[in-house]
């Protein structure tokens, strides 16, 4: 029987798989790649990373951290790291494959074997890579437009590498430069908002890795790790649960109260669920159905929950088992691991949400709840300091009952105008209500 041709076409590949990814995500993919280098070259396991998150003692500050320097201009994007480099043989066999071969072990952060390639193709038409480990190294240059043209057989799916010698361990690393940037990428890079946005993304995504395992600089500025604003209500305890949703996968869940920011407030955008896979945050301050909001039994997110913080940590030596998506910014809803954990996330949230609901009473969803005495009821803690707690009751403190209630009713605008005119004062509708109410109290002699 003759076989129909089912060969992939380069053009199709490049167009399709770069379509649904943003520039920020591409840059994070490149950083993932570098961080995997650190993990590989220093033999760090996901358990070590968890250990560093959950230990109560502060990790000793390392003097020389591997660094990743990201710089960009209208001409080029460069990522240069001292993270250990990519081995020549690994590059020959794996690094440029689309996907990993079955026998290879994927990285801890680079899971799908697609991020680096996708990022390069997304950003520009020409890239060069130079990487050196302590043993060996390689260089590679690729003119993407030319490469795409040669596409008659699978033999054309090759990327030429040149072997070079190794270097000292302090120098070992990779430098990737992308030039001939695509127009839309140039436009994004021109946008003054990108740098700040990117800085925040990096700070949050690697909140548990920055300044512990690696240092990241964006255009020369060191990115500080984001501090997840976790606090404990003095009246309650952090809700904590540990489970194993699949063989070789560990999940740790926390739910508690948020700490205030520097100005003593709780910005709504910091509240919600934070989800990390092998120490990399894939979902931050999520207030959507993805982390269960509005999916029964959890309520929809409401501004009164801006003091809610949930943390879910997934950890596995086999990164494929973790519930991340290929862009690593979100959770795979169909992942069995995630499905097993989702109801538990809702469950440990419940005491905290009901605590917050009790504090605020019934608040209409369209009004901003006023911060109440909650500020005096919490103390800020680190994730590490709460690990050993078992979940217990989350009893709200007794609060004074408000002596006030609100009176609301609708009136015809015409009538309201009449009253205003009669009073000969420019009053708001609320003030008119107050005034007429006071008038009644006075006239009836019951004030």
């Amino acid at each position: 029987m003759p076989d129909a041709n089912a060969h992939p076409k380069k053009r199709f590949f490049i167009d399709m798989f770069t379509r649904d990814i943003s520039l920020e995500e591409c840059i994070l993919d490149l950083l993932d790649n570098s961080i995997d280098g650190v993990i590989r070259s220093r033999g760090i396991s996901p358990a070590d990373i968890s250990q560093s998150i959950f230990s109560t003692t502060r990790a000793p500050r390392r003097r020389r951290l591997p660094t990743i320097e990201l710089t960009y201009s209208q001409k080029e994007i460069t990522v240069k790291d001292t993270c250990g480099g990519i081995d020549y043989d690994y590059a020959m066999e794996e690094a440029f494959n689309f996907g990993h071969s079955p026998e290879s072990t994927s990285g801890h952060l680079g899971v799908y074997g697609i991020g680096l390639k996708r990022a390069l193709f997304k950003m520009g038409n020409y890239f060069s890579i130079r990487s050196q480990t302590t043993e060996n190294g390689f260089t590679c240059e690729l003119d993407v437009r030319k490469w795409v043209k040669d596409d008659s057989s699978l033999d054309d799916w090759k990327v030429p590498l040149e072997r070079i010698s190794g270097t000292s361990s302090a120098q070992a690393g990779t430098e990737i430069t992308v030039t001939r940037l695509h127009d839309e990428v140039k436009m994004r890079l021109q946008d003054g908002l990108l740098e700040t946005a990117l800085g925040r993304e990096i700070s949050v995504t690697y909140a548990f890795l920055l300044e512990k395992y690696v240092r990241v600089l964006v255009n020369g500025e060191v990115i500080r790790p984001y501090d997840i604003p976790l606090a404990v209500a003095r009246a309650g305890k952090v809700q904590y649960e540990e489970l194993s949703p699949a063989k070789g996968v560990k999940a740790r869940l926390y739910a508690s109260i948020a700490a205030t920011d520097d100005r003593g407030r709780w910005p709504v955008d910091r509240a919600g669920w934070y989800v990390a896979c092998n120490g990399r945050i894939v979902l931050d301050a999520d207030q959507s159905a993805l982390s269960g909001w509005g999916v029964p039994p959890m309520q929809k997110f409401h501004p009164k929950f801006r003091q809610f913080i949930g943390l879910a940590f997934f950890e596995s030596d086999d990164a494929h088992k973790l519930p991340w998506t290929t862009t690593k910014r979100g959770l795979n809803k169909e992942s069995a691991v995630y499905l097993r954990v989702r109801n538990k996330m809702a469950s440990i949230s419940e005491p905290v949400l009901s605590y917050l609901s009790d504090l605020y009473g019934a608040t209409r969803s369209d009004e901003e709840p006023v911060d109440k005495e909650i500020g005096t009821l919490i103390k800020r803690v680190s994730v590490g300091s709460v690990t050993s707690r078992r979940r217990t009751d989350f009893t709200p403190p007794k609060r004074k009952k408000s002596t006030k209630t609100s009176v609301q009713y609708d009136v015809e605008k015409e009538e309201l105008e009449k009253v205003k005119k009669h009073l000969r004062r420019r009053l708001s509708a609320g003030a008119v209500g107050r005034h007429t109410f006071d008038y009644f109290l006075e006239q009836e002699g019951i004030s």
Binding site: P245, P296, P297, R340, A346, S347, E350
Partner: protein, 313 residues
């Protein structure tokens, strides 16, 4: 959210004969389960004891359960509840039971009876789902709801109620006919079944082994669904419950629940009926007039039939 009178202001619990029959059926079941190897006396009972604590008294006295938590919605009733609790061992809590169910310890076995007096709403589904997420295998979970039509004049409004309160658990394209007067119980069962399935997502080795699917009418129509969270450890033991000849045990949650009907008989009639129970000869007839249906119903519940008498103290 429910608004309205606390249920203990509506009716004296002890004076609802069908409800009392139901409680005694549970008691009988728990005694059988003990026989089958479940150490029910070590279970933690979490219920909604109201101010009467009838179930607490029964389970403490007859089963020896001594870890007990009663949860009541009305926080303002706390003092009254504390005053009325029959044993020191009862821990009285107020607020939505959901938050207590969410804190259930995975190391303990529980009997949780979500004994609502209202129609099914989002609070019911929430607490039920959380219980299914958290209860350890071997625990028993029971939910009771008012199975009368919810507020509103007819099926379109009733449908709206269930859409507002239990939308994610409804079937595809619910029709107004699905909420006809005669279909309300069925609709409740279908929703509760769907909550149960959804609560167990993520627990691949645990399933819900039904024991109770009971419907009765005393004043209000009430529906109870209950069962055990079972793994391979519990299932073989549980299967033997079928051989216990308990007529009300239902191991399938069909839309036709077991009905408790308590025929009205006088004290004298009762003594005469009891002396012939259980009937060996199905043709046996009492000396007074009684329909065959009443007689059959009586035979099914006489062991659980409460006796009420007025006492002058």
């Amino acid at each position: 959210m429910r608004i309205g009178a606390a249920s203990f202001d509506k009716v004296h619990y002890a004076l609802r004969p069908a409800k009392q029959v139901e409680r005694r059926m549970f008691l009988d079941t728990f005694i059988r389960l003990t026989k089958l190897g479940f150490s029910i006396s070590n279970y933690h009972y979490m219920g909604m004891g109201s101010v009467y604590f009838v179930d607490f008294a029964m389970f403490h006295k007859h089963l020896g359960i001594s870890k007990m938590t009663s949860v009541e919605l009305e926080a303002s009733a706390k003092k009254r509840l504390e005053f009325n609790k029959p044993f020191k061992a009862v821990d009285v809590r107020t607020g939505d039971i959901a938050k207590y169910v969410a804190c259930i310890s995975p190391d303990e076995k529980y009997i949780v009876w979500l004994d609502y007096d209202c129609v099914l709403d989002s609070d019911v589904t929430k607490a039920l789902k959380l219980a299914l997420t958290n209860l350890s295998p071997g625990s028993i979970l029971i939910v009771t709801v008012d199975a009368m039509p919810p507020g509103g004049d007819g099926p379109p409004e009733w449908k709206e109620h269930f859409e507002d309160e239990a939308m994610p658990y409804l079937w595809l394209n619910p029709k107004t006919e699905d909420f006809a007067r005669s279909k309300i119980v069925e609709a409740n069962i279908r929703i509760l079944r769907s909550v149960i399935a959804s609560g167990l997502v993520g627990r691949p080795h645990v399933d819900f082994f039904p024991l109770f699917n009971i419907w009765y009418q005393d004043g209000h129509e009430m529906l109870t669904i209950g069962g055990m969270l079972a793994t391979d450890n519990e299932r073989p033991k549980l299967n033997q419950i079928r051989e216990e000849q308990l007529p009300f045990i239902t191991t399938k949650l069909t839309t036709r629940p077991y009905q408790i009907r308590v025929p009205l008989v006088t004290r004298k009639e009762r003594l005469s009926l009891d002396s012939a129970m259980p009937r060996k000869d199905k043709k046996w007839k009492p000396e007074f007039r009684m329909s065959k249906k009443d007689l059959d119903d009586y035979e099914r519940i006489y062991r659980y039939y409460p006796e009420y008498a007025e006492m002058y103290l």
